[in-house]
């Protein structure tokens, strides 16, 4: 892989089977086996033959309707899901925010959750301890909240903390999914600022967003995905225009935000 690339995706396809049973239980499996019936499944082709290069220091936006395969693609780049065909090569340390929430135990404090999140992402204890106060400050948690159980947090605080953790782990590659809807306008501006700073340090960002203004403001290239395929790639403004035309909702300013 060329050195200037952060991510190389080659002819990537991801498909998986989902069960059409109401509930997958051992009891149902035994019943089916005794009646010699097969489990009803459907194969979902989430990503189809996608090829893409993302250079270091670039910000790529991914737009597309629900079910386009955006999140599946991000999870595959992060190494969470396995490709069915093709190959993904990633060069650099990845940090992800693909599901909202620091994500461990609501009974534990924000600080404890940050430590666990950092350790799971491969950082060591010293690196994380240095960052916890910085993360709490970035997330703008009220005084003392960092040491309270996460279950006492408002949903805004929770979202801000998740975002703060993802951007503070000094990643080479940051994968964000819908994260920017976490905070209010002031926090959104701070998030943008932080991401611009990451770009200035030549770190790579891939954002999946329905807030099209985010894509045009922040990204220097974008792709449009539809039903698992990449329909087009290019400058963010052009891609967003194309996507909006497809949606047939025009390009009114209001439709740019949180579609």
């Amino acid at each position: 892989m060329p050195e200037d690339l952060a991510i190389r995706i080659e002819d990537l396809s991801i498909s998986y089977k989902v069960s059409l049973e109401a509930k997958r239980t051992l009891k149902n499996a035994v019943m089916r086996a005794s009646l010699k019936q097969k489990e009803r499944t459907r194969t979902i082709e989430a990503v189809k033959h996608l090829t893409l290069d993302v250079p270091h220091g670039s910000v790529l936006g991914i737009v597309g309707s629900n079910g386009a395969g955006k999140s599946t693609l991000m999870r595959c780049v992060a190494g969470i899901l396995s490709p069915t065909e093709g190959r993904v090569t990633v060069n650099g340390k990845i940090s992800t925010l693909l599901a909202l929430g620091v994500g461990f135990n609501p009974a534990l404090s924000g600080r404890d959750n940050i430590i666990l999140g950092g350790l799971a992402s491969g950082l060591n204890m010293d690196e994380i301890s240095d960052k916890t106060d910085e993360i709490a400050a970035f997330a703008a948690l009220p005084d003392g909240f960092i040491d309270l159980p996460v279950r006492t947090y408002s949903s805004g605080m929770y979202g801000r903390l998740s975002f703060a953790v993802a951007v503070s782990m000094t990643p080479d590659i940051l994968l964000l999914d819908e994260a920017l809807s976490a905070g209010d306008a002031a926090f959104k501006e701070k998030s943008f600022e932080r991401m611009r700073q990451l770009c200035a340090e030549a770190r790579t960002i891939v954002i999946v967003s329905h807030a099209l203004a985010t894509v045009t403001d922040l990204c220097d290239s974008a792709i449009w995905m539809h039903k698992g395929q990449m329909l087009s790639k290019g400058k963010p403004e052009a891609i967003v225009d194309e996507y909006l035309k497809f949606l047939n909702v025009g390009s009114l300013p209001s439709s740019y935000e949180d579609m």
Binding site: M1, E3, D4, Y16, V18, K23, R24, T25, L26, K27, A29, H56, G57, R75, C76, V77, A78, G79, I80, L81, S82, P83, E85, G86, R87, V88, T89, V90, N91, G92, K93, I94, T96, L97, L98, A99, L100, G101, G103, F104, N105, A107, L108, D112, I115, L116, G117, L119, A120, S121, G122, N124, M125, T170, D172, C199, A200, E201, A202, R203
Partner: protein, 292 residues
Amino acid sequence: MPVNENFVPKIQVFEPHRASLPPLIPYLKEFWTRRVFATELARFSDKAEYLDSRLGKVWLVLNPLLLGLIYYLVVEIIRPGGGLPGLTRLDHLLIGLFTFYFAQNCVTAGALSITAGGRLILNQAFPRALLPFSCTIQAFQQYLPTIPVYIFVLVVGKWAYPTTEVPGWTWNFFWIPFIVICTGLTGFGLALIFATLNVYFRDTNKLLTYITRIWMYLSPVLWLPNSLRGNMKILLWINPLGPVLSATSRVWVNGASPSKNTILGCIFWAIASIMIGGYFFISRERDFAIRI
């Protein structure tokens, strides 16, 4: 173009692998690198579990101790004395129960570890086996305080009932770490199997409550390993915990060394559980993010 001065190239390649294993050496390296995550997760889970309880960690000891006393009463009513002097049978039952609970806690908590790890699994790539491994560490941490309790019961029992058999100091006690490691490995291996099953069939956990109960009755906890006759002796070998529990009773209660066959049985089940559980789990773990 700006330059990231802290950039350290770290190439990762993701390619298809379905029911086969991913490259094992990088997997095990990642597992080892992030072992602190498993130990800290165990510590924090322990903290969260007992945060709201006034008696807190005392329950960890009280629970198996009270259960031990209940089972002892039941066993005494069915078969008073049981052919053992003083409180010897209580000692056998208690140490057997504590060891059995160590393995059982590995399995029951480990079985839930993947389905309970939802957001973490959806958000980050890491060797998933760290989650059941963390449960094994937690089970071990919960097992440790039961040892002084056992010794306390042993000493008080000997004082109240002088006929109780209490082994003096012997080098055979050095078999204890071996037994504990084999129990932990067997429990971890079985946890990997049930954690995977629970991802595919969500009622596995319900079934597990019955499995563990039957498993305990089939294990030499309420009865002595040498009380089995004829074909029933096979129970000691087909049960993954049979050899370790036989060895536990022999070392802790009699102060004797486990038989050669028992030692081989312990090693066999530890290796078999890890190999089978490891293959079953690791070959499917990249599928977990879709299933949970």
